[in-house]
Symmetry: C2
């Protein structure tokens, strides 16, 4: 039985990196991760990326990054699963170490959105939707979120203001994250006054596109010295589940089925219940996604996910803290890198290195990223090794 542990991590500040290229940005995180792992050299590189072929005109970036980072000769490939690309790369790294054929694997997530103007980015993002049946009619990712939020409000008789708790908690948590894009707390009056992106979604309901890179080094536990530099964190659950790519193909669009199944499968592998998690890094691309994820994941009853936010049960001192380092909203959303940022933030919590955002005695956390409106869900459970 191979125990997969996270031996190193590195991340850049999330934001707008106009002065560095895609490869330079990724290298910063890769270098930090190797240092953090005491110089462990990976034999393979799995890169999570969503937009580079279109936005930077650069595909084949697994090989590009291995080469640029001085790792020429190792195995390298790029993994894409929409917004879940980072989680998908982590899943592959996990499987690769589990196979016993690779001892040390690096997983990198990188996204460089500032290579183009924002209208181009929006168009690039729609390629992760169903092009023939959704994007062709002009539907965007934000419009999908808006439709889900509207339907939720109607079906459960909930006002728009009910979602305010999600961005409020996220932005409060962003203050304590030195790598977050936004580090200012907001008040509910600001949420009320914010302009709409796609009615009823307002500016604070939508996570910002961003540049960022994050890297992890995975290995087998027995390959590390017993007295390793950091407290060790292992992966005890890993699951990836798909649903229909097009939103209109769902029987019940308010049921994030892939979330439900992937939480169930990851928990079953870990031999734990979802209620045993000390925190949850979820994919709050839109506030409504956070509510639907809490419900599908079993943390709240159907139609009541927003109450966890209103009661501040999702805050750092709440019953189930989410977005502990700011989430997609405040840390920022560097698409293909987001899943790796989530993993790093969970490891920091478990190592006891989360600074002022530390959850006391955190021993287990769940991370989850989504592609589209939960067309893809990737869930991992991380645990502090005793």
């Amino acid at each position: 039985m191979i125990d997969v542990v996270i031996a190193g991590l590195g991340e850049t500040v999330v934001g707008e990196h106009w002065d560095v290229s895609l490869r330079e940005l990724a290298y910063k995180a890769m270098d930090l991760a190797q240092q953090d792992a005491g110089g462990l050299r990976p034999q393979a590189l799995y890169v999570g990326n969503m937009l580079a072929p279109i936005v930077s005109g650069q595909a084949h970036i697994g090989t590009l990054l291995a080469d640029f980072a001085g790792l020429r000769g190792i195995e390298a490939q790029t993994v894409e699963a929409g917004g879940a690309s980072g989680g998908a790369a982590l899943r592959l790294g996990y499987l690769a170490v589990k196979s016993g054929l690779l001892d040390v694997v690096m997983v990198v997530g990188v996204e460089k959105t500032t290579d183009r103007i924002s209208a181009d980015i929006e168009a690039a993002i729609t390629t992760t939707m169903d092009s023939d049946y959704e994007a062709i009619h002009g539907l965007t990712s934000a419009a999908q979120g808006a439709m889900l939020m509207r339907r939720y409000m109607v079906e459960f008789g909930v006002p728009r203001q009910a979602f305010a708790g999600f961005p409020l908690v996220a932005h409060a948590n962003g203050v304590g994250n030195p790598n977050a894009m936004f580090r200012r707390a907001i008040k509910s009056t600001l949420y009320e006054r914010a302009g709409y992106i796609s009615t009823p979604l307002n500016m604070f309901d939508v996570a910002p596109d961003a540049d960022g890179a994050a890297a992890l080094i995975l290995t087998r536990r027995e390959l590390l010295p017993t007295e390793f530099t950091h407290p060790l964190v292992r992966i005890i659950g890993s699951s990836m589940v798909t649903d229909s790519l097009a939103l209109h193909d769902r029987e019940d669009p308010l049921d994030f089925r892939s979330v439900r199944l992937s939480v169930e499968r990851a928990c079953s592998q870990a031999g734990l219940a979802h209620s045993e998690m000390d925190f949850l890094e979820l994919f709050d691309l839109f506030s409504i996604y956070a509510a639907l994820t809490l419900e599908a994941g079993g943390f709240a009853e159907r139609g009541k996910g927003w109450q966890l936010a209103e009661n501040r049960n999702i805050a750092l001192d709440g019953a189930i803290p989410i977005s502990t380092m700011g989430g997609l909203k405040a840390r920022g959303n560097p698409w293909g890198a987001t899943g790796i940022y989530q993993a790093i933030e969970a490891v920091l919590q478990l190592r006891g290195s989360a600074g002022e955002n530390q959850i006391p005695n955190a021993r287990r956390g769940m991370i989850q990223c989504l592609g589209g409106p939960a067309a893809t869900a990737v869930t991992h459970i991380l645990e502090l090794v005793n």
Copy 2:
């Protein structure tokens, strides 16, 4: 020790499929593979694809194809490594089954180039090169091949005509492959008269871009009944190696280092020498790539790979048959699908189902696909189970 076997396969004709969409094309191969495997249902889908985000405006195709094929709920992701994307997907499928966490995995390669005009395709292909240092100057993939061929001719004092044997054998083999794009043998006089694509590469030195889809079902040997429908083929060697992405970063551009290392590693895993292979499916995107691959792989001395073609040692009845079903040149090159076509052709040879192209008593074969000028090389060794 988990024995990974190929339980099913399916492929479409390679060529121009104007009447079907990307998803429909992929589904044909996926459906055939499931039928061939006696209805085995995969738990995961790894899709090798290179151009869909740019050419078809469609990313996130792992989830799209799982959904369209009636496999909603399974794990799915897309893998990209330039021209080696198909091989990369096979490598991941192999690792996933080896991990013991997945019992049945489907690996699909698909490419739909006819969604755009050919000038757009050429531009899309350059994204797999180094965009910042190669593509930006107008270098294309064919120009890379031309530069390598020119340098080879100068360094080893070889005439252009020396490469004729590669397309001659490939097109001769294409005649017997019902799924090949080109099924007519050519004569050396036709090769001599052919127009240039990028001097000194002529039309027959370059493999055609094409549409195609191919799928494999992988599983653990013990999960199949002892009397399975087909003779079983297992994967006994798997290796992926990178080199510099940019050609100008190589110390010796005529040394396909990634090919050398990946052949060595795959052979070492299999416990076999390269000379024990009954055939070799190599990546003859350009005739020069075939020569350099034979040399780096140890099948010919440096500067003498072309002699194997001239002497017809690479023909079906030669010492080391290559491109046994037509190779990239005659079967056609549906980029991200090519690595899976190679695997299927190898399995057909090992099952004894290669029709008029059958190599008598084939028991072991090597397949290899490349991204860029061997910036990435993926090698697998397949063996007939006794």
